[in-house]
């Protein structure tokens, strides 16, 4: 089947990078909340939470990079350039790729914003 065939396309790809952002965000939040509520003592080290958030961030950014790369490949399919508004399967393919790439960029920025908490916080409060 051709790469641009309708059967091989899905709108779900658009949501993949934002879903990774959401997963990263929720995991960081849940980890920090449970740690602060159940584990934290005034003098206990916060390092494990920070390491966990760093680890989530690396995994999330790697995933977003892969999805962004897939999007870029689709965006560059064939020779046509933006705005991808032709009534052809190829332009629809490029449009979905380009939008995936853009959403990956936004998701990456949002993940980095969230990860900045490990720079600013040395304990729960």
């Amino acid at each position: 089947m051709k790469e641009t065939a309708e059967k091989r396309q899905s709108l779900w790809l658009l949501t993949a990078s934002p879903v990774l952002w959401a997963a990263h965000f929720l995991l960081s939040y849940i980890t920090a909340s449970i740690w602060c509520a159940k584990v934290a003592h005034p003098n206990s080290s916060f390092a494990s939470v920070r390491m966990a958030i760093v680890a989530y961030t690396v995994v999330a950014l790697a995933g977003i990079a892969i999805i962004g790369w897939i999007g870029y490949r689709k965006h560059s399919y064939g020779a046509a350039s933006l705005p991808h508004d032709d009534d052809t399967p190829e332009d629809r393919h490029r449009f979905l790729g380009f939008s995936t790439l853009l959403l990956s960029g936004l998701s990456a920025v949002a993940v980095i914003y969230a990860a900045l908490v490990v720079v600013f916080f040395r304990n729960c409060y």
């Binding site: 309708e6 396309q9 899905s10 709108l11 658009l14 949501t15 934002p18 879903v19 952002w21 959401a22 965000f25 960081s28 939040y29 920090a32 909340s33 449970i34 602060c36 509520a37 159940k38 939470v49 933006l82 705005p83 991808h84 508004d85 009534d87 052809t88 399967p89 332009d91 629809r92 490029r94 449009f95 979905l96 380009f98 939008s99 853009l102 959403l103 936004l106 998701s107 920025v109 949002a110 914003y113 969230a114 900045l116 908490v117 600013f120 916080f121 729960c124 409060y125």
Partner: protein
Amino acid sequence: MIEAREALEPRPDDVEPLADTPPEEVQQAQAERLLQAWKTPTGWRYWSAVNNSEVGLWYTGMTFFFLLFGGVLALLMRIQLARPNNDFLSAETYNQAFTVHGSVMMFLFAIPVFEAIAVMFLPQMLGARDLPFPRLSAFGFWCFLLGGVFLSGSILFDAAPRGGWFMYPPLTSGYQPGIGADMWLLGFSFIEIAAIAAAVEMIVGALKTRPPGMRVNLIPLYVWYVLVAAAMILFAFPPLIAGSLLLEVERAFGWPFFDPGGGGDPLLWQHLFWLFGHPEVYIIFLPSVALIAMIVPTFARRPIVGYSWIVLAAVGTGFISFGLWVHHMFTTGLPGISLGLFSAASEAVAIPTGVQIFCFIATLAAGRVVRSVPMLFAFGSLVIFVLGGLTGVMVAVAPFDFQAHDTFFVVGHFHYVLIGGALFPIFAGCYYFFPLINGKNLSEKLGKIGFWLTFTGFNIAFLPMHVTGLRGMPRRVFTYPAGIGLDALNLTTTIGAFILAFGVAVIFWDLIRPKKNQPYSQRNPWKAGTLEWLQEMPGKPWGIRSIPEIDSRYPLWEQANLERDVDEGRYYLPDAEELKRETIVTSVIDAQPEQCLRLPGPSFITMVAAVALGGFFILGTFHWWWPALASLVLATGVIVYWLWTGTAIIPEKDEKDVGLGLKLPIYVSGPQSVGWWAMFITMLAVLTAYICLVFGYFFFWTVRPDFIPRPTPGPGVFWPAIAAALLLSAWGLTLLARRWNARDWSTGFYGALLVAVALAAAGGVALLAGPWVTGLNPTRHVYPATVWLLIIWTVFLVMVGIIMQFYCVARRLAGRMTSRYDIDIWVVALYWHFCALMVVITVAVVAGFPLVR
């Protein structure tokens, strides 16, 4: 058409309309048959109409009525605050006024107006005859009308809610007897059901009823925005339904979910409320800014700049807006690291929001802008919204929020966001789209007067509020002492509010003034490029004469002779040979035709169903539980009758020739069908509400050391495990029944379903047996209360599942379902997938988690 745009070159794989004009008498006969099929009922039967143009109009009209109602309350508050130590309103009335003002504006204007506008115009933009579930839209409207009138009427009887529009317990649980809070909780739950119904309609409509050839890269931007906003409703409204359930059960039966005395925690309400409340702001904003995205290209006389970027903005905002809810709770003492995460997301959401505004500015800069009233409102909207967005970035910074929280600064901020981001775009939309409603233009003169009054009045009212807030005036306080620097500011705000109100009055007069003697507008008066402007002036009930093949984002600009070909019936479905309402269903990505969908006609059943269901909520408000339950049973009966007579009708033939040599099936079953999609989307919402209850369980476990007492008092492992085994077997048998039905083995089908019913009933009883046998008392502590609630929720869904199984048995017995026409059992099996998932989670949580913690 527009001189600057050239017609598209035809492509070899394009579907071309009929080359020759059909004979005049053929055209006329077709038009007569279409008109007969789509005829709007007359006389008192008019109110049985389900056509999107009627329902959308009633819906929009009602939301505007509620806008005025909320506005009058705002003016009363502003009179009270015009001077210090005023006694125009008592503190008690003032409390009711601000609670009802906020609730009405949010729940009865801002959200429903988006649904109303979408119901009205989505089919036109998609070249469809109607949305896929017209009766569902009508049902949603009647629910909204009933709930809305009940709620806003309460203030006339001094019985309105008075806990603020976000109803924080313990104020609303322990300190406010009377029915005000119950009215809020049950009334809005009822209206949220209507909103979810509308969301189902819009998602399926946007994905499946696009015109042939409208690929995803050619969809009008409005439709992208509506798709995102409707998907957000699915995940944003269920948390509030779950929260309302908890709070109402606490108020009515004393289960202490939010009462620290019984181990509960009022913060859970804030989490659930804002998990709804923040995305809701974007659910309001996105469809409104979508109107701007339609208006700007028309008056810039060029395609939008950055189409993909706007899609990025819509989808990105949709996601990130779910990571902001805690910024309403910055001052509740959560760990700083949590605040940091939510502050980060609150700043991040400014990026996609800004992107779309830059796209609009770029489009205007690159085009040749034509002056018009809609553009005036669009400009006003951008100015006001950008200011509101900037103060939003300020309050997203936690330390600043600590200072500004609960002051008039925040009031100023969110009115800039909501009036700039929603009200002004809607006014722009009124002036832009009005000719589509009754074929007449609104007055340019009144529009300009209305704009300048509302724009200046708004800024005079709300700009000083920021200073009022920074000087320390708190929200929701009915008066203030003289001479502390607030007098002049408050008086200015009140003057501005009245100028704003005067402007709104001018606009409303323009909307409702008699236009009998005014000539009809010309067709496509703004020379727009999008499909809705194909409509004749005035419009016909059939929506579109024939359904065109789309090759462009702006078909009216770029597809030569489109208007002529559509009008002469040279495209798809130019006729209604069987005198039935029909539209075309297409595939999600490339909009390839898949089905000729028969749509239901006028019916009062939607109104009856809404009244019966409303009875449950309204009687429940007064805690008359037995009549309420009777009303619920009645509603179930009505809905079953509705489904039985109006859905999954076996057609008289398999295929229909829709024109241009294309034959499409009339009856489609399984995951291809719109009904299956609707069930899938509905169950996503149900699952979300359920997950919120599960979240409650783990929330209590996190914050309360005594949650899950030691030793664990119940519900044990034995009964939940038995229940899981029985219910999962019932699920498996339902799937087998689907397979055996498809093979036409009726003994197997009936046997499997009836055994499944028995197992499901036994499983439900076993599930209830767990906490019953171990003597868990839900009024004593939050742990038994939470366990009971999870179990009752699951058992309720199983009961609905049993009704569905019986329904399938009856359908086949009555010959309304066969091995070939089997959509009912497909939809029921899908329901049971979700049911099984919830059973597994419930048992794992209530029986399993106490073992492993």
